[in-house]
C-alpha cells in the first residue's frame, strides 16, 4: 500500500456567486484560481502545472483550446493536463496532479472549474443535449430524447424494481443535504425540507421529483495541489492525497445493468491505495446530481451492501451530528451549488474544509482526519466516469 507523501491539497476556493450575469467565463476561472492561490498562501508565479476540462473558457477556440485560458490568466507552465471527464474531471485532476508532482513534472498544480449555465438559461436536465455529429451512439439515442433526468430516472426506477428502494428513502438524501445547506450562506436552497415536501414536489422524470434533482448554478471552484516540501512550508493544515481511483462505465454492447456505477471499480482502487476501508471514513463528499446518484454510489463504494442503500440513507444517517456518515456538509449539488453542471470540484473543496476543520461549526465532523470525495461525470444511465479520492489530514 502506498501511503508515502506524494502531494497535498494546499489551496481550495469556491466562488460565492450562484448567478454570474455580470461576469465572463474566463473571469470566473481566473477569480477561482486567485482565490485558491490566496487560500494556499501562494501566487500565480508559483504555479507550474495547470489542469482543466471542457468547461474552461476557450475550450471551443479552434487551434487554441486550453491555451486560451492560460493566456488570459498569464500562466507560465511546464505541465498541462486537459483530461475531460465532465463532472468527475476535477477529482481525476487531483489524482493526475499528484502523479505529475511525484514524477517531478511540476511542483504547484492549479485546477479550475467555472460555468454560468444559470445566466445562460440552460435547461440542463430536461432537454436533450445538443446532438453529437461523431459519437457512434447518437443516431440510436438522440431520436428518443434521452435527457439527463430521464437517464438517472431509469436508474432509480430499476433500483426500486430490483431492490425495493422507495421514493421516501431517496428523499432522505435531499433532506440531509438541506439540513447542511441551512448553515451555508452561499447555498442556493437554504430551507430545510422534509421527506413529505420532496415527495410533494412536481414529478420531473419518474420516479425523480423536482427536489430529487440538483440545482443549476453559476460559479466555480479551484484547487491547488503541491509537492510535499512546498506544502510543509505553508501555513495551512496538511491535507494529503492517499488514494485515487478512476473508471468509466458504458453500455457494454447492450448488456446494460443500471444497478451500479463505475464506483464499483474506482472505489476499491482508491481504498486499496490508501490502505483504508469505508468504515474508516469520517466524512464523504458524494456527487449528488440526483438523489439516486448518491444512493448507488454509496453502495458501490462499499458503505453498505448493494441494494441496501435505501435503508442506509434513511432516518438522517447522512446528516452531520446525527447519522453515521456525514455527507455533503456544504449542502452539495442538491442544495448548495452545481457550477457548470459539474459537481466534482465542489465535492473535493468541502472534503478539504472538513479535513482542515474549516467547515461550518454546525456541520463540522469532530476530529475529521479521513475523508472521501467522489465525482461522477456523464450520465449514470448510459456512459459515465467515476472518480474517487481519499484524503487524510496529517
Amino acid at each position: 500500500m502506498s501511503r508515502t507523501s506524494k502531494a497535498y491539497i494546499v489551496g481550495a476556493f469556491e466562488h460565492p456567486t450562484r448567478k454570474a450575469d455580470d461576469k465572463s467565463l474566463a473571469q470566473l476561472h481566473a477569480e477561482v484560481a486567485k482565490g485558491a492561490l490566496e487560500d494556499a498562501g501562494l501566487t500565480k508565479d508559483d504555479v507550474d502545472g495547470y489542469f482543466c476540462a471542457g468547461d474552461v473558457a476557450g475550450w471551443d477556440a479552434r487551434g487554441a483550446g486550453p491555451f486560451s485560458i492560460i493566456d488570459y490568466m498569464g500562466l507560465s507552465l511546464r505541465y498541462l493536463d486537459t483530461t475531460e471527464s465532465w463532472g468527475s474531471a476535477y477529482v481525476v485532476h487531483v489524482a493526475h496532479a499528484m502523479e505529475a508532482i511525484a514524477a517531478g513534472k511540476c511542483t504547484v498544480a492549479l485546477i479550475t472549474l467555472a460555468g454560468r449555465p444559470r445566466a445562460e438559461g440552460m435547461a440542463t436536465g430536461t432537454v436533450a443535449a445538443a446532438e453529437s455529429l461523431t459519437a457512434a451512439e447518437t443516431q440510436f439515442e438522440h431520436p428518443h430524447a434521452p435527457t439527463v433526468a430521464l437517464l438517472y430516472g431509469m436508474c432509480a426506477m430499476r433500483h426500486m424494481h430490483q431492490y425495493g428502494t422507495t421514493s421516501e428513502q431517496l428523499a432522505w438524501i435531499k433532506v440531509a443535504a438541506s439540513h447542511h445547506a441551512q448553515h451555508n450562506p452561499h447555498a442556493m436552497l437554504r430551507d430545510v425540507v422534509t421527506v413529505e415536501e420532496v415527495l410533494a414536489s412536481p414529478m420531473i422524470a419518474d420516479p425523480l421529483h423536482r427536489l430529487d434533482c440538483c440545482v443549476i448554478s453559476d460559479g466555480g471552484g479551484a484547487l491547488v495541489v503541491a509537492a510535499p516540501e512546498i506544502a510543509k512550508s505553508l501555513k495551512r493544515p496538511l491535507v494529503r492525497v492517499i488514494g485515487t481511483g478512476y473508471a468509466p462505465k458504458h453500455q457494454r454492447g447492450g448488456r446494460i445493468d443500471l444497478t451500479y456505477s463505475g464506483a464499483v471499480w474506482s472505489g476499491p482502487a482508491a481504498f486499496a491505495e490508501a490502505g483504508v476501508t469505508p468504515t474508516d471514513v469520517k466524512y464523504a463528499s458524494i456527487y449528488d446530481s440526483f438523489t439516486i446518484t448518491v444512493l448507488m454510489t454509496l453502495e458501490d463504494l462499499g458503505f453498505c451492501a448493494k441494494g441496501d442503500g435505501g435503508k442506509f440513507v434513511s432516518d438522517g444517517n447522512l446528516i452531520s451530528g446525527v447519522g453515521k456518515l456525514p455527507f455533503n456538509t456544504d449542502g452539495g449539488g442538491l442544495c448548495n451549488n452545481h457550477p457548470s453542471n459539474r459537481g466534482g470540484m465542489t465535492k473535493v473543496i468541502e472534503a478539504v474544509r472538513q479535513l482542515r476543520g474549516e467547515a461550518h461549526p454546525k456541520v463540522q465532523v469532530p476530529n475529521c482526519d479521513l475523508a472521501l470525495a467522489h465525482g461522477t461525470g456523464g450520465a449514470l444511465g448510459s456512459r459515465h466516469g467515476s472518480a474517487t479520492l481519499i484524503l487524510e489530514r496529517e
Partner: protein
Amino acid sequence: MTERTIDAPHPNPETTRYWAAANERKLLLKRCEACGQPHFYPRALCPFCFSDRTAWQESSGRGTIYSFSVMRRAAVPYVLSYVTLAEGPTIMTNIVDCDPDAVRIGQPVRVVFKTSDSGQLVPMFTLDRT
C-alpha cells in the same frame, strides 16, 4: 394526443443498412460471426471480441421493458426506456402509443416504427397486449 417531434437520426457509412431496413419496418441488430454474441447499437467491429466479422440480423421485434422513465417537463410527456430484446441486447428506445402511467418494468413490448422529422422511420416500442 399530439405526438412529440422526433429528431431524425444521421446515418453514417457504418449504419446505412440499419436505417434502410428501418424504413422497411425491420429492426436490425448485429451478431458476431467469430464469438457468436449479438450486440447493440450495431458496430462494424464486435465490442466483445473485436472481430470485424459482424453480420446484420433481423430482430423479432419483441422484448421486455428493462427500465423506463417519463419526462413530465416536456409539452407532451414521453417515455424513455431500455428494452431487452428477445435476442439478448438491451436498447434505448421510447415506449409509444400508450398511457405513460400504464408502463411497468417487465412488460412485454413489440416494435413499431415512427416517422422522424426527415421522414426516416425510427424503431420504437409499444406495449404488447397480444
